[in-house]
């Protein structure tokens, strides 16, 4: 196994930031750590990098326990959310500093740096400083620095969150080509579920420092193991109905359809999504979201229903999936 987190936990001033994290990463896999802010995903990454020490549990890389191994010797290529580029150094100097302190000769530094500058098509930026280039370019420099590290594993901490939506989508293929589809494992921290689904082989959903579910994007979408995962994954958000007999039923908006024998409801609002539209219905069970291409006008009072097998059932007590 490439990377194994066993029972990992971090406790700061009697508060458990994360606890009981068990994750195994396969060779060449890209695993997304997904969750809202403060859920512990960045903390998990810092523990792997060795920037913080775990309070319990262990981390092993290629069957070697990382306990007591310094961050450098873990050979990690990390991209920070802020990119962490040195503001007083030019692009080339930013890339060279790490190589220099690791003792590469000047010729070797030059060779490696020209290689990544070509690879990422940023050679024209070589003598600029970070504040003189755009956010997307900065992100590429940060990627270049991680590549230069020639690491055993890549840790990407929300590498795209400082970019605008358009740029994020533009950079995704590049990120995939350079890092994610390589043979080295990647851990990708994000709070954006669409990005996680687009980029990773598997997703680990974290909430309040606990691992809610780990699985492929399809598994998470089709069989969410908890109310939290069901709510967090999938946009437009899943319909959660009021609990009945300590069971909570949820149905995805796309599984709802118009049916003359369905429940009576009232169209109150609609959002144009492009290909289809998102309809909000007022029903006896509360507001229901439905994705449909039907041209319905406000006000109208259609009947809607859904197939029984498309329902997700959760226990209200534990928040976990039933059956």
């Amino acid at each position: 196994m490439t990377l194994t987190l066993e029972n990992l936990g971090l406790c700061v001033q009697r508060n458990w930031i994360i606890r009981n994290i068990n994750i195994e990463v396969q060779p060449g896999e890209c695993l997304a750590l997904l969750g809202p802010s403060g859920c512990g995903k960045s903390t998990t990454l810092r523990l792997i990098a060795g920037l913080d020490k775990p309070s319990e549990g262990s981390i092993s890389l290629f069957n070697k326990d990382l306990k007591g191994i310094s961050p450098v010797n873990r050979k990690i290529g990390m991209v920070f959310q802020s990119y962490a580029l040195f503001p007083h150094l030019t692009v080339v100097e930013n890339l060279a500093l790490g190589l220099k302190v690791r003792g590469y000769s000047i010729a070797e530094q030059k060779r490696r740096i020209s290689y990544v500058l070509e690879l990422l098509q940023i050679a024209t930026l070589r003598n600029r400083k970070p504040q003189e280039i755009s956010g997307g370019q900065r992100q590429r420099i940060a990627l270049a620095r991680a590549l230069l590290r020639d690491p055993l594993i890549y840790l990407l901490d929300e590498p795209m969150s400082n970019l605008d939506a358009q740029l994020r989508e533009d950079l995704r293929p590049e990120l995939r080509k350079l890092i994610i589809s390589g043979d080295k494992p990647v851990i990708y921290v994000t709070h954006d579920q669409q990005e996680a689904m687009a980029i990773s082989n598997r997703i680990a959903v974290l909430n309040n420092g606990n691992l809610e579910q780990i699985g492929t994007p399809q598994e998470l979408y089709l069989k969410p193991q908890s109310i939290f995962v069901a709510n967090f994954i999938g946009r437009p958000q899943i319909n959660m109905f009021e609990p009945l007999d300590s069971i909570r039923i949820a149905v995805r908006p796309e599984d709802i359809y118009l049916d003359p024998d369905g429940i009576q409801c009232k169209l109150i609002y609609k959002e144009w999504l492009g290909q289809n539209q998102l309809l909000f219905f007022d029903t006896p069970k509360g507001t229901i979201r439905m994705i449909g291409d039907t041209a319905l006008d406000i006000p109208s009072e259609p009947r809607i229903t859904w197939k029984k097998q498309k329902e997700h059932h959760f226990s209200t007590k534990s928040g976990k999936r039933i059956s």
Binding site: V72, F80, S82, A84, G98
Partner: protein, 289 residues
Amino acid sequence: MNYLLLIPATLLLLLVFGFPLIRYFWLSLHASSVLTGLEPIYNNGANWIRLISDGRFWQDLYQTSRFAVFSVGIEMILALVIALLLNNEWKSKQIYRSITLLPWALPTTIMALSWRWIFNTPYGPIDQILNLIGFNNLNILSNPSLAWVGTVIADVWKTTPFIALILLAGLQTIPVDLYEAFRLEGGSPKQSFLYITLPLLKPYLLLGLIFRLAQAFGVFDLIQVMTGGGPASSTESLAIYSYLNAMRFLDFGYSSTIMLASFMILIFVCLSAYIVTITITNNFRRYKL
């Protein structure tokens, strides 16, 4: 049109800065003393000729520079150490920071008087400590070759916190991410100090240096209270000499000449300090590639 908005500020600067300077210059070209009945009489640059051959002026220039170089030099190094310590995450760090700032908050005259007592022989603690380790009756402030050391010590005590505060503010602008990224790349603590902290602290180091050089070069109150320029004029600064000429000898023409001369020397010193610091700190990160 935009420049119109600058007029009020420019006028104010001219009034408080330009006018006295021009007035000094004008006075320095005139004899204006008791002998002339305090009437300014044009004297063909005699004040400047007198200045050049005035041994006391050159002696005071040397003493002032010695005071400035030693006190500012020690203060910068001490302040950097203190700022680095205070920048650590400590429990109740606010308290430490406030305590460190206390000496700077004291009025100079009060702390100068206290230091005079601290150095007092035989009642001051420093004299007693010196006696214990075998230096009997060293009497620092009455010793013409040692008194300046006493004033430097007092100045370092008072002003180090000020620079430490500037440097601490500078340290807090450096993101922790930079250090962590560098650590992952293999940088040692010493290397991260040289390659990250020092270059990023450069503007703050310069600011502290220029501020303090200017202040130390014009030192007056501390010395006036602690030693009055003595013993035997051994701690006399240019500001004190100028003050003596104006207020004791009532020679306003010559006093202005001294002030103007030290002002020009100070500008020269600050500029050179600026250039030297920029060159030194740039060398921390210069490597060929």
